[in-house]
C-alpha cells in the first residue's frame, strides 16, 4: 500500500514536470491571442497560422544555419529572430490592410476576416514550405538531456523541455506584466483593454495601441511556433489545431488577462499530464472540461471582470 502510494507520488512529480513544460507551450500559444482580444476585441482565428509561420520561419533559419556550417548555438537566437521577423512583418500588414478596414463593422465580420485570412495563409504556407514535415532540432540537440531521478531509476528529460520552454514562458509572463504595468505603452494597452472610449477620451491614440498590440500578439504567436519547432514537426493543418486550444484558454482566462492565460495554461498543462498518467482517454477533452467548469463557476472567466453597464 505504502509502496503503491510512494510510487504514485513519484509519478505525480513526473507528471507535474511534463505538465509544466506543456503549460509553457500552451501559455506561449495563448497569451498573444489573449492580449490581442483584450485590445481589439477580435478573436483572431489567424493566430494559429501565425504560430505555424513562426515555426516554419524558425525551422528554415535553423536549417540554413546547419547547412551553411554556422555555429549551432546560433539556432537558439534564431528562434527569437523568427518570432520578431514574423511579428514585425506580418503583424502591421494584417492590422493595417485588413483589421483596420473593418474596425467599425460588427464583431462577427471582424472575426470572419481573420477566418478568411486563416484559410488564405493555410494554403500560402503550403505553397512556400510544401507538405512534407519540416523540423530543425538543433536547439534540442545542443542542450542535451538532464537525468531526473525516479526512485531507483532515472528519467532523461531534454534540457530544452525542462528549462528553455518554461524559462521563456516565465520570462514572457514577467516581461509582459512588467511592460503592461510599468511602461507608458503598456499602460495605454491596459487602458484601451479596460475601456476603449475612456482611453480615447484621455487622448490615447487607440490606433497606435491597436497596431502595437496586434504586432506584439503576432510575434508572441510566432514565438510559440518557433519554440515548438525544434521538437514538433510542422505540417499543413498545424495551425487549425493550435487555434482551438488557444480559444479555450482565452475564454477560460478572462478577456485580455495575461495572468489568466498563465493560470489557465498551468491548469490545462497539469490536467493533461495527469490525464495521460491516470486516465489517458480524457487527455483530448481536458481543455474543454476545464473551460466549462471554470465558466460554470465564474461566467466572466478566471481573471475576467464582470462588466456592469451604466444605465
Amino acid at each position: 500500500m505504502l509502496a503503491w502510494f510512494s510510487e504514485n507520488t513519484l509519478l505525480l512529480g513526473l507528471a507535474a514536470l511534463d505538465g509544466l513544460s506543456y503549460a509553457a507551450t500552451v501559455f506561449m500559444v495563448a497569451v498573444g491571442l489573449n492580449l490581442v482580444f483584450g485590445v481589439l476585441r477580435i478573436l483572431n482565428v489567424a493566430h494559429g497560422s501565425l504560430f505555424a509561420i513562426g515555426g516554419y520561419v524558425a525551422a528554415t533559419l535553423g536549417l540554413f544555419i546547419a547547412s551553411h556550417g554556422l555555429p549551432a548555438w546560433l539556432s537558439l537566437p534564431a528562434l527569437l529572430l523568427a518570432a520578431v521577423l514574423t511579428g514585425a512583418l506580418l503583424g502591421p500588414v494584417i492590422e493595417r490592410l485588413l483589421l483596420r478596414r473593418v474596425e467599425n463593422q460588427e464583431p462577427v465580420l471582424q472575426l470572419l476576416v481573420t477566418f478568411a485570412l486563416f484559410m488564405i495563409l493555410e494554403d500560402l504556407q503550403k505553397l512556400v514550405w510544401g507538405v512534407q514535415p519540416v523540423v530543425s532540432d538543433a536547439p534540442v540537440r545542443l542542450l542535451g538531456t538532464v537525468d531526473v531521478p525516479f526512485g531507483t531509476d532515472v528519467i532523461p528529460f531534454t534540457a530544452y523541455q525542462l528549462f528553455v520552454l518554461p524559462g521563456v514562458a516565465v520570462v514572457t509572463l514577467l516581461g509582459l506584466v512588467w511592460f503592461l504595468r510599468r511602461t507608458l505603452a503598456g499602460r495605454m494597452i491596459v487602458a484601451v483593454t479596460e475601456d476603449r472610449e475612456a482611453a480615447r477620451a484621455m487622448g490615447i491614440d487607440a490606433a497606435r495601441v491597436t497596431l502595437l498590440t496586434f504586432s506584439a500578439g503576432a510575434a508572441l504567436a510566432a514565438l510559440g511556433g518557433a519554440l515548438a519547432s525544434p521538437t514538433a514537426s510542422l505540417v499543413p493543418g498545424v495551425g487549425a489545431q493550435t487555434i482551438v486550444l488557444s480559444f479555450a484558454v482565452v475564454a477560460t482566462a478572462g478577456l485580455g488577462r495575461v495572468e489568466g492565460a498563465a493560470v489557465t495554461a498551468l491548469l490545462i498543462g497539469l490536467g493533461r499530464a495527469f490525464a495521460v498518467y491516470f486516465e489517458p482517454e480524457l487527455e483530448v477533452v481536458i481543455p474543454y472540461i476545464i473551460m466549462v467548469a471554470v465558466l460554470l463557476v465564474r461566467p466572466q472567466g478566471l481573471f475576467g471582470v464582470l462588466e456592469t453597464r451604466r444605465i
Binding site: 478573436l43 463593422q105 472575426l111 493555410e122 482551438v244 480559444f247 479555450a248 473551460m291 465558466l295
Partner: protein, 313 residues
Amino acid sequence: MRRAGEVLLVLLAAALVLVVAWTVPWLRFVLTIALAKGLAVLGILLLLRAGQVSFGHALYLAFAAYAIAFGAARVPETLLLLPLAAIGAALLGLLVGLFVVRYREIFFGMLNLALSMVFYSLLEKFYSITHGTDGIRLPPTTFAGQVLDPETQGWAMLCLALLLSILFAVLVRIYLASPIGQALAGIKTREARLEFMGISGRRVLLSAYVLSTLMAGCGGAVLAMTTRHVTPALSYWTASGELVFIAILGGSGSVAGPFLGAVAYELTRVYAAALVADAWQMVLGAVLLLVILFAPGGLWGMGRALVGRRRQA
C-alpha cells in the same frame, strides 16, 4: 402585392434549383447538400440577430446525422427518422441551451465550440460503436415504406430539402416578425432594457437557440441521408466556422441569405477544387474577404442593392 411577388420569387428559386439539378445531374447532390447546410445556417442567422455567434452549431448537425446513421440500421424510414433526429437535436439544444444562454459574445461562442469539440471527441472515443473517423455507412432509407432506386432517392432528398428549406424560411420569418423575434433582436442592442420591460433575455435566446438546433438537426438529417456516410469531422470546429462563413456570405438581412450563401459556397468550393485543387482554401478565403470588405451585406445585400439601383434608374 408584395407578398405575391415574394411567393413568386420563392417558387422561381425552387424551380431554378430543380431545373439545374435536372440538367446537371451531379449538381443535384451538391444542391441537396447546400440546402441542408442552409437549414443549419438559418439557425446561425437567428442567433446572429441576437448578436451571438455560435462556433459549435455543427454539433447539432452531427448529432442528427449520427442519430440517422444509428436509426437507419434499425428502421430505415426517412419520414420517421428525419423528425426523430431533428427533435433529438432540438432536445439536446434545449439541454445545452439552458446552460449556454447565460453567456454572451465570446463566452457563448466558445462554450458552443467547446461542447461541439467534446462531442467530436466522444465520437472518436466510442470507437467500437462509431468506428471513429472511418465513420458509419448508412443503408438506403425508404420513403413512406417505398424502396426507391438511387436516382429517385436523389430526387426525393432534393425535394425534401427544398420543402424543409421553404418551410423553415417561412417559419423563421414569422418568428422574427413576432414579438419574441423582435425581442431577440433587442438582445443585440439593449438586453438590459428587456429585463426592465419584464422580458427574460435568456428565455428569448433559448427559444431561438432551440429553434436553431431543430433546423441544424433537419440539415444534419438531410445531409446524412444524402451523403450516406457520417464521420466525426461533421462536428469539428471548422465545420461550425463554415456555417458562420456561409451566413455572412449569404447575408444576414434575409431568410433567403443562408440558402443563397450555402449554394454559392458549395459551388465556389466545387469549382475552386476543380480548377485549383491545390489552393481551393485560398480561393474561398479570398471570396469571403472580398465579400466582407466590399459587400458586408452578403450576397443578399448585394442583390438588393443591384435591384434597388435598377429601380432608381
